[in-house]
């Protein structure tokens, strides 16, 4: 199968000189569920944000659905973004508006700029948003304000918003890092199930190796901005884990 996402020698150097990402390359096939593991500051977040251009890469290229992003115009970048849902550690919902409206934000890339700015979504979009909420077990919360929800519920709204984009790829940045283990499992189960059912490829940044091994079909290990492992979960040895997390005896 043809890859939907190609990351080629992607690099990001911040203006203060830190190389957050250096020469990362990989390809992702449709339906893959990849987990990116590594310490905080290893470049996991930067990697995801360089893929959807929330962060401007300083080197390399990303090609998604055949479109190269390095030379893409602002308009083309928006077209790329609307096909990639993103889920955040802090949920990043608009706190003061309803759950339904937050989900509808997933359609912003598809409606006209004026209609979108005024929040005038079509009946069809509203119906779709409602059915997505139902699918995530949130129909009771549809008209509540986002800040009335628990963390786990907010993250499910985050998934719903991403899903409302009808994405080909979901980028999840530490989606469970702020949640307790039980809620974290619910979120990962939901994310995993939906990606499998809808055939959406997914890249999840995770802290916990165990969680990564449970769900992922592929694991990418990051260390100091470099990709140090890329393989199947079964191939991730304890030795490799120590290397990714920097506990190896051969100090650098």
């Amino acid at each position: 199968m043809a890859a939907i996402l190609q990351v080629e020698r992607l690099s990001k150097k911040y203006s203060d000189g830190t190389a957050a990402l250096s020469d990362v390359s990989f390809e992702l096939e449709p339906g893959e569920f990849a987990a990116v593991i590594g310490l905080s500051g290893a470049g996991k977040s930067t990697l995801l944000r360089c893929i959807n251009r929330l962060v401007e890469p300083t080197g390399g290229d990303v090609s998604f659905g055949g479109v190269r992003s390095a030379k893409a115009s602002a308009h083309e970048v928006r077209l790329l973004r609307r096909q990639m849902g993103m889920i955040f550690q802090g949920y990043n919902l608009i706190q003061r508006v309803s759950v339904l409206r937050n989900v509808l934000h997933g359609r912003l890339g598809y409606v006209g700029p004026v209609r979108g700015a005024l929040g005038l979504f079509s009946k069809q979009d509203v119906e779709e948003a409602k059915s997505i909420l139902k699918r995530l077990g949130l129909e009771q919360q549809t008209y509540k304000r986002a800040d009335e929800l628990s963390g786990g519920q907010q993250q499910r709204v985050g998934i719903a918003r991403a899903l409302c984009q009808r994405p080909k790829l979901i980028l999840a940045d530490e989606p469970i890092a702020s949640l307790d283990p039980v809620t974290a499992k619910i979120i990962m189960d939901n994310l995993h199930r939906i990606c499998r059912e809808d055939g959406i490829a997914c890249i999840v940044n995770l802290h916990q190796v165990e969680v990564a091994k449970t769900y992922a079909t592929r694991i990418i290990g990051m260390r100091k901005g470099k990709m140090v492992f890329d393989g199947r979960p079964e191939d991730l040895t304890d030795r490799m884990i120590s290397h990714i997390y920097g506990e190896s005896p051969d100090k650098e």
Binding site: N52, L54, R78, L79, L80, R81, R82, Q83, M84, G85, M86, F88, G90, N92, L93, I94, Q95, R96, V97, R101, H105, G106, R107, L108, G109, Y110, P113, V114, G116, A117, L118, G119, G158, R161, Q165
Partner: protein, 262 residues
Amino acid sequence: MEAQWLRIRRQKRVQTVTIVVLIAALVVWSAVQTKFHVLTVFGGLGEMGKLIVNDFLPPHPEALKGLIEPALDTIYMSVVGMVVGSLISAVLAFFAAATTTPHRIVLVLVRGFASVLRNIPGLIWALMLAFAYGIGTLVGTLAIIIYSVGSLVRAYAEILEEIDQSQLEAVKATGATFPQVLGQAVLPQFIPGFVAWSLYKLELNIRASTIVGMVGGGGLGFYIQNGLKLFHFRDVSMAIILMLVLIVVTEFFTNKIREKVI
């Protein structure tokens, strides 16, 4: 270690003493320059009391009939000043906030402009406008709008700079355009502060419109000024009471609205 600790403490003490001495010197110097003397203050209090008791009390209830129109004028000026002022300021604030401005130079220009409007007192605006437009509520309203814009642009810009960027990031990540991010992510976070500040401005405007009125802006202020000139002190005291009532009532209602919105 111990010696260093002692040295830091001694430094601190020297600092404190220096600051206290400096402030004391400043106070004495200012008092001498302005001929401020505690005895004169108390001497004046007696005169003031006599004036209030003999000339201002009791207030003239009959004056109320003639006061209704000026009071309404004051309310009109304040409300129009607040509505027009806050709308203009909201637009300008988007250019004056680091988070939403299209360019840094625009930010500096708009901030500078607002600062000029703000730092010239409303009283002076009214005096200058009275030259151009003559005496009347138009002058009062314009002066209040100008002064409101000066302070509200800054207040709104600060609200815009404090909004949660991660919420904007999420909406941007969906492929939204800049106007869509503004409408769907910035605006919901901006509204509560916008309402709170606008209502507070309304309270301030009621007060300011009295002062502005005294130099030709119309309304209660103009009435008070005229009354003082004609020695109709009992009418003036009635007008002052009405003004106080207006302020208290406005405060009460704006508080109610604020509770509802936030």
